[in-house]
Symmetry: C2
Subunit: 457 residues, 2 copies
């Protein structure tokens, strides 16, 4: 968690009434060079969401607490809003910060139903808040980047196949190494358990146990399931079943032939087969996805297709993008059936892991490649003219305004990571040009005004 290297040589007064006012480490913040990188990734995500025709919305960070409690998976993580004790106004509503973007989506869709076009395709990139217990890599404030398609009454399985296509494009472009999109269908596991006679309650428990299989290991999972009263042979069966690691066609063949005569199971297999078929039709590269029967997804509202994406060389990072299909997004608000499919990237955690593992490395602390230095204050209008010239041709440019020696200005430029420094004194001005110094090579040469933009490109 950053920033870590706090040196308070000049600031000592971080205490107020004995309480420190430094930022809490569960609420991450980045240095400029880190934020620039995070912003690049956010841009890639947004760009791909839009490329596939998802429209942006934002919902308020604040929802009525009653709704969040009713839909939340963990009340204890909800941050409610309050006022200071000296507040005497109307205590408006019972409000709280949203903990995900799916519950607000449901409320937004129900609230604006008559104003939206269905299937409703939206993306949402926003911070969410969860008061989780602080632990490595878990934050209390983080970015979620979501897309969902919500249908009015029905939604074809082609949409389930489009999601992995978007996931594929995003992670390919992020250039963070080989990744694998795991696909499954919840009905398969549910039907499997049902076939073996487990009660509904017991099925949920078993699903949660399988969900944690990879994290806690086979022994612990076996133990947990046994405690729930599930028979040893069923446990063995499901652990083998969830762990099958074979090419897609072999898994599908196995599912077709394993003689589990349960309607839900067969429906799940059928849906999975269709989704996999559509994924091929949509041209998603075969080596970027697989069927993984062990994928459960913790949230109970998924009802069909489910996804989890992992980095092949860094399985310890866990799922970097997940989601699935839910039968009825808006059931909370009425009888209307609105199925949806969505995925979510928990970006803050992913980003911090990418930095920590060194998969991503920070670059300059500036978005601008060019610094126009100011050697001679009387030439300021010339410097600003150069900057305007560069900016107008799309080159981000900072002008150095402080009265410092040119050596110090160049030091600042190097430290901050500029690629070029522009230097001009009376000689250059008289010759209608500047010195362009390449800060990476140290090379410096004269450039006429007309050529500056070409020179720094």
């Amino acid at each position: 968690m950053k920033p870590t290297k706090i040196v308070n040589s000049v600031f000592s007064n971080f205490l107020l009434n004995g309480k420190d006012v430094l930022q809490c480490k569960c609420f991450p913040e980045w240095l400029p060079e880190e934020r620039i990188l995070e912003q690049k990734i956010l841009d890639i995500i947004r760009d791909n969401f839009e490329k596939y025709g998802f429209s942006p919305i934002e919902t308020s960070a604040v929802e009525k607490t009653a709704m969040l409690i009713a839909k939340g998976s963990n009340d204890r993580e909800i941050y409610t809003l309050g006022r200071l004790s000296n507040y005497s106004g109307d205590n408006d509503q019972n409000l709280a910060l949203h903990f995900d973007l799916t519950v607000p989506l449901a409320r937004y869709v129900a609230q604006n139903y008559s104003l939206l076009n269905f299937p409703f395709r939206r993306y949402q990139i926003q911070k969410v808040w969860r008061g989780e217990r602080p632990q490595s890599g878990r934050y209390r404030e983080f970015y979620q980047c979501d897309i969902d398609v919500v249908g009015d009454k029905d939604l074809p399985l082609l949409v389930d196949a489009e999601m992995p296509s978007v996931i594929y494009q995003i992670f390919k472009q992020m250039n963070i190494g080989k990744f694998m999109i795991g696909v499954n269908n919840r009905k398969i596991l549910q039907g499997y358990f049902s076939f073996y006679g487990l009660t509904n309650h017991c099925i949920n428990e078993a699903m949660h146990a399988i969900d944690k299989l990879e994290k806690v290991g086979v022994d612990k999972t076996r133990e947990t399931m046994a405690e729930k009263g599930i028979g040893a042979d069923i446990i063995d069966g499901i652990i083998n079943f969830a762990g099958i690691n074979k090419p897609i066609n072999e898994i599908m063949e196995y599912l077709r032939s394993c003689k589990i005569d349960n309607e839900l199971f067969l429906q799940g297999v059928d849906e999975l087969e269709q989704v996999i078929g559509h994924m091929a039709t949509l041209g998603i590269p075969q080596d970027s996805y697989k069927v993984n029967l062990g994928i459960v997804r913790g949230l109970d509202y998924y009802t069909g297709t489910i996804y989890e994406t992992t980095l092949v060389d860094y399985p310890e990072i866990g799922s970097i993008c997940s989601g699935g299909r839910y039968d009825n997004l808006t059931s909370f608000f009425g009888d209307k059936k609105m199925p949806g499919v969505g995925i979510s990237i928990g970006l803050t955690r992913l980003f911090s892991q990418l930095l920590k593992t060194g998969i991503l490395k920070t670059g300059p602390a500036t978005v601008a490649p060019v610094l126009v230095t100011s050697m001679d204050k009387s030439l300021m209008s010339y410097y600003f003219k150069i900057a305007t010239l560069l900016r107008n041709s799309g080159i981000k440019t900072e002008v150095f305004f402080d009265s410092k020696r040119i050596g110090d200005q160049l030091k600042y430029a190097s430290k901050k990571g500029f690629k070029f420094a522009i230097i001009a004194g009376n000689d250059e001005v008289n010759n209608d040009g500047v010195q362009v110094k390449n800060l990476e090579t140290g090379e410096q040469r004269f450039s006429g005004l007309d050529d500056i933009c070409a020179e720094v490109r």
Copy 2:
């Protein structure tokens, strides 16, 4: 405030335990077509911030309450964080949501002092929260778009002149009509009052009264100031002074000649003259700014140059971008002197006003110009190939997956605002092409695969 036209024909259950769970209207949300427009403006702002070499940072939405109270101008507006009553964990810290981006900036700079490059140029585009009394156009959650330059020890007045240059570029590009950047220096008014023998406390009261002059009118201002014990002649003098509306050189001449022998006043005039001079040097168009001696800015932490920007044809909207110079950003954390200059755009309020007045009009509810329809499910891979072709050449494209008649698909396309619909049946596939329907003109013609991208551009 939107959404307004709620028609709950199918959703009636917005009540839970007798409480409605609809979004509170003080926390604004936009329909997709509105959000697309807001996003465009946010992009213009960010683009210009970066063009001038400002680096992005984000601070956590959450700060220690103690710091916000100490730095806040209005405690009653602070939203604190709490937990539900069934929460039994550690009550971590006393946390609250930030109400602006300047206080967090001060904390961030002090906290990361040794890791930052000075002058520190940063931009920050984030939501902030203020529990204000609901009134027209005031929101409890809104975007602030800030840039600040923070110096280590000192910061040249050239920076004060650079700010209006950024403001100018942003509002020119937004294309929202004629705007005027008003510039003033706080020291002038303060010195003026001091010269006339007002005490420091009384000066503050008088400044606040002048700040509200335009809003409440001359009579009310006169009354307020008289109540504070300020003499009638001083009141008349200051109201005239603050209202001077003349060309810059005449105002400067007047300031030089008005014989107010007060050090602060003369320093303010001197600074203002330098800043105005630099603004000309930096090439900001003369008709886009003026000196307005009536600008005060409510916040007491400004100490020098101050700005307010207004739309010439819509003065009722008030200031759309304001800011100024403060002597010591980080005084709270130690003795180190860190002067800064910054501006802030309160985007949410501005955006809602631009919509309301019709200065901005919403467009399509999709970011994609092209919809690939799906007439024949067996040709799905062809449709997706077309979409990939378009996307790869940078054209945002949605594929319609639902099994609906082509007429309904085109209706969806028109309603959502697509510019082109791509239609293909076996005929088109056999001829390696598609029909491209221009939804604005109704025109439709065959295009070969190689020409599609050119056709829809």
